[in-house]
């Protein structure tokens, strides 16, 4: 069903390079994927895999050194017009991991939540701004009078709600959520995940949900991409990925997920991924191919043929 929906974000051969010209480091290396309107796209990887960099490239914080990012059919990567830049700011918002660190501790909630309005709608009347702050706080389950308080007066879960309110006030279509629940306790995590699902239903929001936690990603995502050292290894619908993981890295990652089930943990077999196991050569380089509808895997001709057989 999601295949018929409009492509909201198209990422093609995205490459992001850091470091000096002499010592370049490719944080993201030739990544391609689409995100459709209204879906939750999960991006899973370990630390240093480049998952956060992809999110930052989309919101135009990290410079793109190769490939393109299109939003609603329009290129938003590289040099763009002022108009496009403003369009990105208005339509794409970000929610960060650590609600302790991502809120200005010296500013009141009122200012934190409306900062985007100040920069994008300079001439908005004060009464309207206040109204929108109150509404944004209400949308995330906080009281309007919290606007007069400072971040330290809130618990972790409440602070993450403030972070979400700050994104919502811009009335975005697309939210990049980078590890939004990783710093939260189990019970608070459930509240924030439910809030995100509810907002998506009510407003047709589209999410890029970046996380290292596969069990959370599985719960919230329609489709999942697995990234390792800057390259996508596998991309599939959540159920496809969990039921038929093909790439050895995906399999290793899935085998390591801690499950809250002692019987399963006792019998669990850890798979270890060794990136040198592929034996890629010039003659047989890794490709990125769709093996069944919606299921992409990285592998050489030989590997892809082997994966195809397991799908039959």
């Amino acid at each position: 069903m999601s295949e018929t929906r409009e492509k909201l974000l198209e990422v093609r051969d995205l490459t992001v390079t850091f470091g000096s010209r002499r010592h370049p480091f490719r944080a993201v290396d030739g990544v391609s994927f689409d995100i459709r309107r209204g879906e939750t796209f999960g991006l899973v990887g370990e630390s240093g895999s480049g998952k956060t960099t992809i999110g930052r490239a989309i919101i135009r914080v990290d410079p793109v050194s190769g490939g393109t990012i299109k939003y609603g059919g329009e290129i938003i990567s590289g040099r763009v017009s002022r108009q496009t830049d403003r369009r990105v700011i208005r339509n794409i918002q970000m929610v960060f991991q650590d609600p302790m660190a991502s809120l200005n501790e010296r500013a009141k909630v009122d200012y934190i939540v409306s900062e985007g309005l100040y920069s994008l709608h300079k001439h908005m009347p004060e009464a309207e701004r206040r109204e929108r702050v109150a509404k944004a706080l209400g949308d995330v389950g906080l009281l309007p009078e919290f606007a007069g308080r400072f971040p330290h007066e809130f618990s972790g879960g409440q602070r993450q709600r403030i972070g979400i309110a700050r994104a919502l006030i811009m009335e975005p279509e697309f939210i990049v959520a980078d590890e939004p629940v990783s710093a939260l306790d189990v019970s608070i995590r459930a509240q924030v995940l439910n809030l995100m699902s509810r907002l998506q239903r009510e407003r047709g929001l589209t999410y890029l949900f970046i996380s290292h936690d596969l069990s959370v990603v599985r719960f919230i995502s329609d489709r999942i991409a697995v990234i390792y050292r800057g390259k996508l290894m596998e991309l599939a619908r959540s159920e496809q990925l969990f039921d038929h993981p093909l790439h050895p890295y995906t399999r290793a990652l899935l085998s390591a997920i801690p499950m809250p089930d002692p019987a399963r943990e006792r019998t669990k077999k850890l798979l270890v991924y060794d990136p040198s196991q592929h034996g890629y050569t010039e003659a047989d380089p890794p490709l990125w191919e769709e093996l069944e509808p919606g299921h992409f895997v990285r592998g050489s001709r030989r590997e892809l043929d082997a994966y195809r057989k397991t799908l039959l």
Binding site: E46, S47, V186, I188, H212, A256, M259, P260, P262, A263
Partner: protein, 347 residues
């Protein structure tokens, strides 16, 4: 103290003074730790799980103190220790600790070898070549390849997982009886996390250690624990074997905690979530501390603190629901499913 008990908390109270106000961080905890077992203390932030273990190592912050009760270890009452000198005989030597973040628990200015050497000299009394050999061996014991070379390197030359192995090597170098692991894998990637847990398990077997894990991650708990103690608001609300707590939990807080795991939820469904926030421990807690957040709380839950009720010889919970006079309250659906299947209910 029973023969097989190595560490015993008896009616322990720990208080902190903050800006003239008193915070009751630990409220009358009694818990036995058995020799050679692997015990997991589970709780959310602020539940007091770290304070409890820190009190057994004399590592409470300066504004905190043991206000009542005892901590028995090897015939001594650790709660009665007053001087740093007394603690030095226990801390590290008898009870060692591995902390969450290997970035901050290692000294970035000293080589890894020097840091292990320090522990070896202090606790094993070795000097010179013998001390160095023991330190290199400690690196080898925690699965670091080429320990001779690694010995001379600095922490920044190690990956996160390797750094945590170094921290474990330092803890083990003192040949402790009890190893406390405070969120040992929270800062690590899942694949590395599994390897570190395996390492601790094999060391435990090899050295006959007793391990105490402090964690909020129920997946880690299911992997490592023989027994589980569930903490809420400075109290242990339920304690039992790993299977008992996962498959037959009895306290409403344990129900809520397990139910809110995304592993139990299905996409598109609303995840079970606990409403409200934990009680403010600056105020006196009346009755069952979880009652205000428990939609099925009984009247007595608000009035009187429940005692422990035994479910089995190894399993007890502090809830009025287990009182014979209590009405029958069904646990949430997810928990009932777990009970029926005795496991396998998790996707």
């Amino acid at each position: 103290m029973k023969e097989n008990v190595i560490l015993s908390f008896e009616d322990l109270d720990v208080r902190f003074t903050l800006r003239g106000q008193v915070l009751n961080a630990i409220r009358g905890i009694s818990l036995d730790v058995y020799r050679g077992e692997s015990l997991a203390i589970v709780g959310e932030s602020g539940s007091g799980k770290s304070v409890l273990t820190r009190s057994a190592m004399g590592l409470l912050d300066a504004n905190g103190s043991i206000a009542g009760g005892h901590i028995w270890y090897d015939g001594r009452d650790l709660a009665a220790f007053r001087t740093e000198k007394e603690w030095l005989a226990v801390r590290g030597r008898e009870i060692a600790m591995v902390m969450q973040d290997p970035m901050t628990s290692l000294n970035p200015l000293k080589t890894v070898g020097a840091q292990i050497l320090e522990a070896v000299r202090l606790h094993q009394g070795l000097r010179g070549a013998a001390a160095r050999a023991a330190a290199v061996q400690a690196l080898a014991d925690v699965g670091i390849s080429d320990p001779e070379t690694r010995y001379k390197q600095y922490p920044h030359e190690f990956s996160g997982g390797m750094r945590q192995r170094v921290v474990i090597a330092i803890a083990i170098a003192c040949r402790p009886k009890i190893l406390i692991c405070d969120e040992p894998t929270t800062a690590l990637d899942v694949t590395i996390q599994a390897q570190i847990l395996d390492l601790v398990r094999s060391l435990q077997k090899k050295l006959g250690l007793t391990t105490v894990y402090i964690t909020h991650d129920l997946g880690v708990v299911a992997n490592v624990a023989d027994r589980i103690a569930v903490m809420y608001a400075g109290d242990i609300v339920e304690v039992g074997s790993c299977d008992e707590v996962f498959y037959d939990p009895r306290h409403p807080y344990t129900w809520a905690l397990l139910s809110s795991l995304p592993q139990l939820g299905a996409k598109g469904e609303t995840l079970y979530s606990i409403q409200g926030t934990p009680p403010n421990l600056f105020h006196e807690v009346r009755g069952d501390a979880f009652a205000p957040r428990n939609p099925q709380a009984l009247k007595i839950d608000f009035l009187k603190r429940p005692p422990y009720f035994d479910v089995s010889p190894t399993h007890r919970a502090r809830t009025w629901l287990l009182d014979p006079r209590a009405p029958r309250v069904e646990p949430p659906e997810h928990i009932r499913r777990l009970r029926e299947r005795g496991g396998g209910g998790y996707v």
